[in-house]
Amino acid sequence: MSKKLVYPALSLLAAASLALTGCAPPASTPAPAAAATAPAKAAAALAVSQPWVKAAASGMTGGFGVLKNTSDADITVTGASTAAARTVELHETAMGADGAMRMQAKQGGFVIPARGELKLEPGANHLMLMGLTAPVTAGADVTFTLELAGGGSFDFTAVAKDFSGANESYVEEEGGAGMSHGQPSSTGSAPGSAPSSTSK
């Protein structure tokens, strides 16, 4: 994947599509298939379905969806970003030494296998938003940019939903207090949606 990926004007397309429909969560953001180079085809082969973000008032939260690779070559996501958070990490959930499931950065990024898909979901791989720049309220749109190995990128927009799960433990590397993502976005969140503290 050392070939340079040409990034087609996907974000513009996605934005135009949103403006036209004016509304409902874009459940899929298929990439245009017009690009001429092989790397562009690889980037264009990426699609997302069911994208959503857990609504949160502050701190951290998670982004989810299904990434689909329609090409014959693996695609690797090496990073992600959004205006909604200072940083986004690619996380997996794995068992720690004590047997508890914990979130941790995914070494080597997310690989979406050729003709396959990668599910980002609570309790498993996900996009970890850290340092929210503003409350992510239910119904809001959050646009992500995925950086692909080789230099291309892929944008998609996810809708924020109230969600009581996705409370996996996350231990910050500096040894600070453990946190889980998804502070309740409002008083409207159901009882039980409060993040579980995991500093033990």
Binding site: A24, Q50, A138
Partner: protein
């Protein structure tokens, strides 16, 4: 079933709201097997959400004799909302929400977007976004979700759009209204032929409402189970009466005019209508005291098949001029049939009621009745005059008591990628 085959279990050839053969969910086309190439992906557009769930491992192979019909799909998207002209499903729940204080126009918009997307997925037999019990969505069972707007919601979005009739009905002398069954800002009418499907849809929609609204009331109703009798059979209420005989048939011009407007009756918005929901308590204990002749006289119809007392078949036209040997009208002047029948042909409504049977209060054995649901283009012109006549005199009033009442404006449907109510934000 292959991993790519996303057809809901037991899919059947039901028709959608327009009577056209329904389409299968599009996800199968998009993500199904080798045939779905990039071209199909690009062409199929933006709406692609729902289940990543494979056919549940515990789904038994259908016995041909089982006649499984849980896969029936009613199209969510369309010019008009489903769940009105749609043949009434076996189960219905009516949920009224109150907007949280301070909910803004943009908040209402976000709420309606979220709920429309949930409804579209669930009605197609796909799990909603962030659906934690997505397996339950696999049996749509003709699920419909119909949204209605109360005065508070319209006021929060654009007060100038509120139709004149969007307010509580006039007070009627028979009313004993209770706040826990009355009014509300947003109505969710959720109907399906499977109660588990209804419950899951209700849960999903309410989870996505929490930040914006609180539950004001919930009324759960039922009819005969799907398949118990021929579809299209007029329902019976818990008095045993055939209830709804004079409804204009959904494919008729009458129905079109009554529900969607026509002639000099205009709907509040094209492809919109209104709904009146009244909870009518039926006193079964007092009804028990009435013999069969008295029961039929109070209604003006036969219990056996709903025929008017002057006819033999259900849909025979009643003849109010026929008198008995003693000179009394065969159909009493104070029967429900006679009192409800308008002289003015514009005073017609389309009923889509459900029975309810709640837990009895202390010392009682039943708390039963009817969730009266009627659609009409103009509440003031069509519904209220009928209710005034029934309020003045109707033998059935001896055994029935309205305990809840609500009026909602029904907005048009939406297209894929849109949301119900979007026209109010234009």
């Amino acid at each position: 079933m292959s991993a790519g085959d996303q057809r809901p279990a037991g899919a059947t050839a039901d028709s959608d709201e327009t009577g056209a053969p329904r389409k299968l969910p599009r996800r199968g086309l998009l993500f199904g097997g080798a045939a779905a190439g990039l071209g199909a992906l690009a062409a199929a557009g933006a709406h692609l959400s729902g289940a990543g769930i494979q056919q549940a491992a515990n789904t038994a192979a259908a016995d041909p004799a089982d006649n499984v019909h849980g896969g029936g799909v009613v199209a969510f998207y369309g010019d008009r909302q489903a769940g009105i002209t749609t043949a009434a499903q076996a189960h219905g729940v009516f949920v009224a929400l109150d907007l949280r204080p301070g909910t803004t126009r943009s908040g209402v918009r976000a709420l309606l977007r979220l709920l429309s997307d949930d409804a579209a997925n669930l009605c197609a037999g796909q799990q909603a976004l962030a659906d934690t019990e997505g397996e339950l969505a696999r049996v749509p069972a003709r699920l419909t979700v119909t949204f209605g707007f109360g005065p508070g919601l319209v006021a929060a979005v654009d007060p100038a759009r509120a139709p004149g009739w969007l307010q509580p009905l006039p007070a009627f002398s028979v009313d004993r209204l209770r706040p826990e069954f009355s009014h509300g800002d947003l109505l969710l009418q959720i109907c399906a032929d499977d109660p588990l499907t209804v419950a899951h849809a209700q849960r999903m929609l309410l989870k996505d409402s929490r930040s914006f609204a609180t539950v004001r009331w919930v009324q759960t109703g039922f009819r005969r189970a799907y398949g118990s009798e021929k579809s299209g059979t007029t329902m019976r209420n818990l008095f045993g009466q055939v209830d709804g005989t004079s409804n204009p048939a959904p494919d008729s011009t009458d129905h079109e005019h009554v529900v969607w407007g026509g002639g000099d009756i205009r709907p509040w918005v094209d492809n919109g209508t209104s709904v009146v929901i009244r909870r009518i308590a039926m006193n079964l204990d007092k009804w028990d005291e009435v013999d069969r002749v008295g029961r039929e006289e109070s209604m003006g119809r036969r219990l056996s098949n709903g025929a008017p007392l002057t006819g033999t078949r259900e849909h025979d036209e009643p003849d109010f001029k026929v008198v008995s040997k003693l000179g009394f009208p065969v159909i009493s002047d104070v029967s429900h049939l006679r009192r409800a029948r308008p002289e003015d042909s514009s005073q017609r409504i389309f009923r889509r009621a459900y029975n309810y049977d709640a837990a009895p209060g202390a010392g009682g054995v039943s708390d039963s009745g009817l969730i009266f649901v009627s659609f009409q283009a103009d509440v003031d012109r069509q519904f209220t005059p009928i209710q005034r006549r029934l309020d003045e005199m109707d033998m059935l009033n001896q055994w029935t008591t309205p305990v809840g009442s609500a009026v909602f404006a029904i907005p048009p449907g939406c297209r894929e990628g849109g949301f119900v109510g979007e026209g109010m934000f234009a």
